[in-house]
Symmetry: C2
Subunit: 377 residues, 2 copies
């Protein structure tokens, strides 16, 4: 029989995995912080508990054949302990450690992958020294716990850091020069325990306030650069030993490609794969962690763009304007069923078209109807 899959977290990524799981008749159990989270409304069995709680993770592991993740705010040591006790955890604690930016930069840099100049600061002096060497302004990122722009600071000195963000041994900061970016890319790779890969088209990502807000596939870059990005991402997937999806976010600089972040799970920059690829990142994540053959990652449209649906500033709920948005041809609306709050990710829209800019424009038309927000010019 198909394996039972446990997902740590019950947000929109788990929700979209659950939609794929229904087609494959895979049984899911989600570890949710609260009833009503997106994936609790998909037929998955719901286990209430915190991803911080080793007992909750163990209860989840005991009910399923394989444990996987909707987010990486999990202690890798707890996962190692589960693994030692014979539970199957995919990706493993070893892979999850790469969500720690200090570990990632240090490990990948040592392995010869191109990473930005960096320092791991555990005290104030290290910050001052890095500003001195790379200033006037530098970027400081919380090594762990940051997401969607939280925990990232552009600073000219210690005074620009919030008091609770000062580096310590327990909470180090990763410091980087303020790079001049030509663009940002993301490469999504599905991988199974046998080491098989399926690599999706490289996408352009457009961040706003630290959130990956727009993606366009395929990226508008020369074929050689796309090949280089795919080869780099694939080599990283092998290096870290990922299973299921791995998102590799890359900077394009005058000096070439640099690795920005890794996310060992389905990723916001891969939502376009639901309509735009032969197999979605959500289905391939499940196939990967269940050690099933991976599906084709081929593009299925000339161009595909995705834009996030963020909660409008006035607190209104985009669900009220669904009918308007659905009138935009070839725009596919995905809502996560979450309560509206300003700036909260409530959904996304994917559109297909003959070229990436037309697809992005179409997706924005639907987003504007949902939220009132217009495409930045």
């Amino acid at each position: 029989m198909a394996p039972r899959v446990g997902i740590v977290g019950a947000g929109q990524l788990a929700q979209m995995m659950a939609q794929s799981a229904i087609s494959l008749a895979l049984e899911l159990v989600v570890l949710a912080e609260a009833d009503g989270e997106p994936a609790t409304r998909t037929g998955a069995e719901v286990l209430l508990g915190s991803a911080d709680d080793p007992d909750a993770l163990r209860r989840l592991a005991e009910r399923v054949d394989v444990v996987t993740f909707d987010h990486e705010q999990v202690d890798p040591a707890t996962l190692d302990a589960l693994d030692a006790d014979g539970h199957v955890v995919r990706p493993s604690g070893t892979v999850l450690r790469f969500s720690d930016k200090a570990h990632q930069r240090t490990h990948l840099g040592a392995a010869g992958f191109p990473v930005p100049a960096f320092a791991v600061a555990t005290d104030d002096a290290a910050v001052e020294a890095f500003v001195h060497a790379h200033g006037p302004r530098i970027v400081a990122k919380a090594a762990t716990g940051g997401y969607d722009g939280y925990g990232v600071f552009v600073i000219a000195g210690l005074d620009d850091l919030p008091a609770d963000a000062r580096p310590t041994i327990e909470r180090p900061l990763v410091l980087e020069p303020l790079l001049t970016l030509e663009r940002e890319l993301s490469v999504l790779i599905a991988r199974n325990p046998s080491g098989d890969h399926a690599t999706y088209a490289v996408v352009d990502t457009i961040q706003r306030d630290g959130i990956c807000n727009e993606t366009m596939a395929p990226a508008h870059i020369p074929a050689e650069l796309a090949d280089e990005a795919c080869a780099l991402a694939t080599a990283i997937a092998d290096e870290v030993g990922s299973t299921g999806m791995l998102a590799v976010e890359l900077f394009v600089t005058a000096d070439g490609l640099l690795v920005n972040e890794l996310a060992p799970r389905p990723h916001n920059s891969g939502h376009w794969t639901i309509e735009g690829a032969a197999t979605s990142q959500f289905e391939n994540h499940l196939r990967g962690v269940c050690d099933l053959p991976l599906g084709s990652a081929e593009l299925r449209a000339p161009a595909v763009a995705t834009v996030n649906v963020l909660g409008p500033a006035d607190g209104s709920d985009p669900r009220h304007r669904l009918a308007d948005a659905l009138a935009v041809r070839d725009a596919h609306v995905h809502l996560y069923g979450k309560g509206a709050r300003p700036g909260r990710k409530l959904g996304h829209v994917t559109a297909t078209a003959a070229d990436p800019d037309a697809a992005l424009d179409r997706a924005w038309q639907a987003v504007e109807r949902l939220t009132g927000e217009t495409r930045p010019s």
Copy 2:
């Protein structure tokens, strides 16, 4: 807020509607005969009760904004009563009546649509007279309650009819000549209450034992015939006033197109639309019955084929062989989570390819791996 939708029935069609409903954040309530039916495992609210029970239908209607269907084994008079009490039922009792083959033939024939020569028999004498006029062999179909080949008999006389299938006033038979069919087609049309349409590509359907077992899109027919089929189906959708999906099954004979059956809901011959069309029949059914704008029905691949996964004769469960099937490239496996019984519809496989025969071959490769059944030569 988006409307709450009630579905009468909780089989695989309701399951696939539920997967679409999750993306649109529509809330579903399904009227299920038993817990564990496919759509009860999708996060929909479950109301246990029989579609035969007017009280159960009323309880469903009272919990939702619109009532729709996963099957048409429902008494139209009950639906009329709900409508009279202000409940929204889409499609209406009037549309559901067209599932009665006697009503359908009589009404469409009178309206000038091409239907086979037919008689509605309510006694034995009418059967003998029709055999005399159109024999040696004719087709007798139960006017209501038949599906997937049940209730259809090829007979040379009364003796060939099971005793309990003899026609009566209460249970008439529709009689037809045994037609020589060049092929069978299906046209799927989404329609909303405003009368907007979205018409999908005409598909070739291949029946086996009375079940629509294979479909190929687009149908391998001249463009003029495809246009004629679409125009005919669209005119029928308007005539019957369908909302949501309507499947129009057509015979191609030496005398041209004839209307075979209507199904006022998503249909087995439209499963290919999940991967093969811009908007699936399941999403468009929900959009139609909720009076939301319809999505594009455009083909998204050169050719798309679907083959049913039927329970193997040895009673084994195809879920055990999922990994083998997923190794077939560009084959999309859909399982309904139903217990395996010989001949039971347990799922389907859709494959895309450069031409319909190649797509069909690919879908069959995966089906063979799931069931051991091979493509008929």
